[in-house]
């Protein structure tokens, strides 16, 4: 009997990784270290609740409310907590503001540190070797991979997240959005614009 038949005889279509992880979870469950039902809820929270929509609400509020923007740039953890819209975020959150002369970009060259409370779990590319290796040395090349082109004299500031501080980019408000409410503005704020690899959607893009 081939290994393939054996695989089917046990009624399993699971990959090697699925089997290995199931074994680890089984050991931890039998020892009382984890509750599989609690794990279900953790997974569900990251799949449905904790995502870039939270960060977009914060950015939109900052665009519309100068006092909130000042508070956010002063102490982002505290400002977001006071806002009360996106639940509690962890300590050591730092918001950094893009201007016509300065573009901020966030990376973790050593692992995958990311402002998860506001953006959800990081995408695969953020954790990948190409992004981690090149961002600190050739950020314009990385931006080009995202189709983002900035003027040559725009200063690029790369924040390498080498400690437990977490960085959120506050992008520039797109032109033509005067008088927009937070809901409409938040729809312009993409995840990548808050990492600094892209710009927010334009008013025209939002209308499409």
């Amino acid at each position: 009997m081939s290994a393939h038949d054996d695989h089917h005889e046990h009624g399993s279509e699971l990959s090697e990784m699925a089997l290995r992880v199931r074994a680890l979870e089984t050991i931890l469950t039998e020892k009382g270290y984890v509750d599989p039902a609690a794990l279900d809820v953790i997974v569900e929270a990251y799949e449905t609740k904790i995502g870039p929509r939270n960060g977009a609400i914060v950015v939109a509020r900052a665009w519309n409310d100068p006092a909130f923007k000042r508070a956010l740039l002063e102490d982002a953890t505290n400002a977001v907590a006071m806002l009360g819209l996106v639940g509690k975020v962890g300590d050591h959150l730092v918001a950094v503001e893009n201007t016509p002369k300065l573009h901020n970009m966030v990376v973790c060259t050593l692992c995958s540190c990311y402002p998860t409370d506001l953006l959800g779990l990081p995408p695969v590319w953020y954790k990948s070797a190409p992004y981690r290796s090149r961002s600190v040395r050739d950020p314009r090349g990385v931006l080009a991979d995202f189709g983002t082109v900035l003027p040559a004299d725009t200063e690029i500031r790369v924040w390498d997240s080498t400690a437990e501080t977490r960085f959120l980019v506050l992008p520039m408000r797109p032109a033509g959005t005067d008088g927009w409410d937070e809901e409409r503005l938040a729809a312009l704020v993409t995840r990548d614009s808050m990492i600094g690899t892209a710009l927010p959607k334009s008013a025209a893009e939002a209308a499409r």
């Binding site: 990959s15 990784m17 699925a18 992880v21 074994a23 680890l24 089984t26 050991i27 931890l28 039998e30 020892k31 009382g32 270290y33 984890v34 509750d35 039902a37 609690a38 794990l39 953790i42 997974v43 929270a45 990251y46 904790i50 509690k88 962890g90 300590d91 050591h92 060259t109 050593l110 692992c111 409370d117 695969v124 590319w125 990948s128 070797a129 190409p130 992004y131 981690r132 290796s133 090149r134 961002s135 600190v136 040395r137 050739d138 950020p139 314009r140 990385v142 991979d145 995202f146 004299d153 725009t154 690029i156 500031r157 790369v158 924040w159 390498d160 080498t162 400690a163 437990e164 501080t165």
Partner: protein, 219 residues
């Protein structure tokens, strides 16, 4: 350690390839790995620095060719064994075969899952005054510890300027060795692109790291 995880400035990894409409997890097991890591961390089975250290010590070829959550799964297994929470025969069997050793904190129950999701605080009361202030010129030390450090290779022995002072934080270099928190002042230190990468570097580039005080000396 000077491992392949310390990637800043390396060549040869190719283009960044964003995936359109990327799912949160690409397979069900990835979500289980993430949730196990969070739940076990919240129960005090290990700390973040031990977890990072375990991942960095994976063989270079494995680190570079494994998916992120595959590497995490291996880190969890490694820590289960090294922390005495499971034995090799249990890992081989896929079942608990021996009595459980108590964890430092209560396991995360269904009723309090937030404990596993909330980010911990790494700020600690200051035991001494900060040696540096905003605007100070500093030089990062040239250190090459065989153990865990958060001072990346590309930023060692470089002149920079203190831009922010964050207070005292748990010191990963100590925490990852199981040697206690040994909290230290944490700073944002910014470098000119040309300081890091030479005269050919983008003149409009500046890069900052988050640097613990033991990484720095006055310049």
């Amino acid at each position: 350690m000077n491992g392949v995880h310390d990637m800043g400035g390396m060549d040869g990894f190719g283009k960044v390839e964003p995936e359109a409409n990327e799912p949160v997890f690409h397979a069900r097991w990835e979500g289980r790995v993430m949730a196990i890591m969070r739940a076990m961390g919240a129960a005090g089975a290990w700390n973040l620095d031990l977890f990072r250290d375990a991942r960095e010590h994976q063989p270079a070829a494995f680190y570079l060719t494994s998916s992120y959550y595959k590497s995490w799964a291996k880190s969890i297994e490694t820590l289960m064994l090294s922390r005495g929470l499971a034995t090799p025969d249990e890992v081989a069997a896929g079942h608990s075969l021996h009595p459980a050793k108590p964890l430092p904190r209560e396991p995360v129950p269904l009723a309090d899952v937030g404990r596993a999701i909330r980010r911990g605080s790494y700020g600690r009361p200051a035991a001494a005054r900060a040696s540096f202030k905003v605007g100070d010129r500093v030089r990062t030390k040239n250190i090459n510890p065989a153990t865990h450090t958060r001072l990346p290779r590309y930023a060692r022995g470089k002149l920079g300027v203190v831009e922010r002072v964050h207070g005292c934080h748990v010191f990963p270099d100590s925490s990852a060795r199981g040697a206690g928190e040994d909290s230290q002042w944490l700073y944002t230190v910014v470098f000119e692109g040309r300081t890091l990468w030479g005269e050919d570097a983008d003149p409009a580039l500046r890069v900052s790291i988050e640097a613990f005080e033991p990484y720095l000396e006055p310049a």
